[in-house]
């Protein structure tokens, strides 16, 4: 009897666990599902009752409308890609370089400089939008990728994160060996440190890539030339000008969602582990 009761209580708890997980997973997926399904329906049919729940036949037509209204759509995807890749490369290189110096070198004021670096992580970036915009236009960097790539040199979290990893995970003997083998200071960094820091760099790369790929507010203010729009800016403009053509809007949204869907399907485990570890390490 007692055994039976324990058993049914455990079964009941498992039921609740799965119910919670399945309901929340379902609620998470449904909007994505409908995004893709509705992209294949004519705008007029989307508002019909009952609404379509399965793939329709208007995908190509909606796509043509999208390209007609937003001729620079693919260019805007490319622009987002350039910003994502560029800012990620710069972030990795300079974060590892600074992190390496803090992890493996002794120099005057090292402690104080590291404290400054940690403090900078507390400053909210939003405060700077207006002055940042003015500064960028003074540099002549409007309608350019530079405002979204160059500042990645000064990534406080990235430098901190790489320092922690290099200090703990890359053995000192390797540096000594590299030095005996005649690698210069930069050679040691480039040939020994960077490859060995790859696991930490991976998590940093994903964060940076997602940030760059989704960049919106900055490009919205600085890119006035439609051929320099990032894809969120292109979609936001499309919504503003042709907001009633839901079908075309959803084709654009679906195309822009695909890369993230692919990332999630093929790499979510390591990415999530890396990102949560990264996020919580700052604490």
């Amino acid at each position: 009897m007692a055994v039976h009761m324990t058993y049914s209580r455990a079964a009941g708890r498992r039921g609740i666990v799965y119910a919670l997980l399945l309901v929340s997973a379902f609620a998470t997926i449904v909007p994505f599902y409908w995004e893709f399904v509705l992209a294949s329906h004519m705008t007029g049919d989307i508002a019909s009752t009952p609404p379509p729940v399965w793939i329709g036949s208007a995908l190509l037509q909606n796509y043509r409308t999208l390209i007609e209204y937003a001729p620079h759509f693919w260019r805007s995807m490319l622009n987002s890609g350039v910003i994502a890749v560029g800012s990620t490369g710069v972030t990795i290189f300079f974060s590892a370089l600074g992190g390496y110096a803090f992890a493996r070198y002794r120099f005057p004021f090292k402690e104080q400089l590291f404290w400054v670096l940690l403090l900078t992580m507390l400053i909210p970036s939003q405060l700077g939008l207006i002055p940042w915009y003015i500064e960028m236009t003074h540099f002549g960097w409007a309608n350019s990728f530079l405002p979204f790539i160059v500042p990645a040199v000064g990534n406080a979290f990235g430098t901190f994160w790489m320092r922690q990893y290099i200090a703990s995970a890359v053995p000192q003997e390797l540096f000594d060996a590299a030095r005996i083998d005649g690698c210069g200071e930069f050679g040691t960094f480039w040939r020994i440190v960077l490859p060995l820091a790859a696991p930490a760099a991976g998590a940093l790369a994903i964060t940076s890539f997602i940030g760059g790929w989704n960049a919106f507010l900055g490009p919205l203010t600085l890119m006035s030339d439609p051929s320099m729009y990032t894809y969120p800016v292109a979609l936001a403009n499309l919504k503003g000008v042709h907001g009633t053509d839901t079908g075309a809007l959803l084709v654009g949204s679906s195309i822009a969602t695909l890369p993230m869907l692919i990332i999630t399907i093929f790499g979510s485990r390591r990415i999530i582990d890396g990102l949560t570890a990264g996020a919580l390490s700052g604490q």
Binding site: V17, P50, P51, F94, A101, P131, N155, K239, L250, I272
Partner: protein
């Protein structure tokens, strides 16, 4: 041992020492070279804009001229109804989003971390997807779902609930705009909070739970006395990012309520400005009306709100100094 050889030895020693000094100076210079890009970039792109924004806030700054006007912007701020509405909206959204998102995420994280859950990786992947998807895209998609004749209302009608005018387009009323924004935001970020809490739960050694169970602790005891206190640091982090994220909400409400075309038309933020956030006012003031000084003043207000809320949050979590 002759005097000569002693002299030779000490000479060697001197050379070795001076070489060492030279080498360590040289290495320190390399270190400075390696860290200097960070500090230079941070000064140019981080410190300067912030210092400059405090100056801007005291000026009437248009793209053509700037005049120092002291605290006038802040005096205007106190009388600006649009700013008051936006501040109220942002705080409302922060409280509702924070409360819903964090409690939901905690429950789901406990479920995800239950023993022997099948398909854990698939669930994690699903919860992760909205977090990395562009809020602009999600705002667009949810705008369609929220339409008066849209899918959400259709679903509600099937369970006998009257259609809701989510975005206020049908009635011109702002009643449901903030709940709609909160719903999208919670939907987008609760999964990431689940993953953070789950990572925090993973870090708790299982022996602690086993020991508690052997001592006869009930599930509720374990949750309240062990799990939650041990999740304190993660919770603090989650609350912090929720505060920062919801005060700065911009993309999703903008897209739900009409995209960039709303800017400059005085209709930004939807019916009765029900969905107007502080970040939207900053954007509109600067880029539709060209009042950069006033926009900077609103940013400073936003910054002040964030500083206060962050301090309160720290105080609530770490009242006891032992942490």
């Amino acid at each position: 041992m002759s005097v000569a050889s002693t002299a030779l030895l000490s000479g060697f020693r001197g050379r070795i020492q001076s070489r060492r000094v030279g080498q360590s100076t040289r290495r320190a210079l390399w270190a400075y070279l390696f860290i200097s890009p960070f500090y230079i970039s941070f000064l140019v792109f981080g410190v300067f804009p912030i210092v400059f924004s405090f100056y801007l806030a005291l000026t009437r700054w248009t793209p053509y001229q700037s005049t120092f006007i002291g605290a006038a912007n802040f005096v205007n701020l106190l009388q600006d109804n649009l700013v008051h509405t936006a501040l109220f909206n942002s705080l409302w959204l922060m409280v509702v989003i924070g409360g819903a998102q964090i409690s939901l995420a905690l429950v789901i994280a406990l479920a995800l971390n239950a023993r022997k859950v099948r398909g854990r990786e698939a669930f994690r992947g699903i919860f992760f997807l909205p977090y990395i998807t562009s809020p602009v895209v999600l705002g667009l998609v949810w705008g369609v779902l929220f339409a008066y004749t849209g899918l959400l209302n259709y679903g509600l009608s099937r369970i006998g609930i009257e259609p809701v005018d989510w975005l206020g387009y049908a009635s011109g009323s702002s009643t449901w705009i903030k709940p709609a924004i909160a719903l999208v935001t919670v939907w987008q970020f609760f999964g990431w909070n689940v993953l953070l809490f789950a990572a925090g739960l993973q870090a708790i050694p299982s022996e602690i739970f086993e020991a508690a169970r052997i001592d006869g602790a009930t599930d509720w005891d374990v949750l309240v006395r062990i799990t939650l206190p041990l999740l304190k640091r993660v919770s603090f982090f989650v609350v912090s990012i929720t505060i920062i994220g919801s005060i700065q909400l911009f993309d999703a409400p903008l897209m739900l309520l009409g995209g960039v075309a709303g800017a400059g038309s005085g209709t930004l933020g939807g019916a009765e400005s029900g969905g107007l956030t502080l970040a939207m006012v900053v954007y509109e003031t600067a880029f539709s009306y060209g009042q950069f000084g006033y926009a900077a003043a609103i940013s400073v207000l936003m910054f002040g709100v964030l500083v206060v809320l962050t301090a309160v949050n720290r105080r609530v979590f770490f009242r006891n100094l032992e942490d």
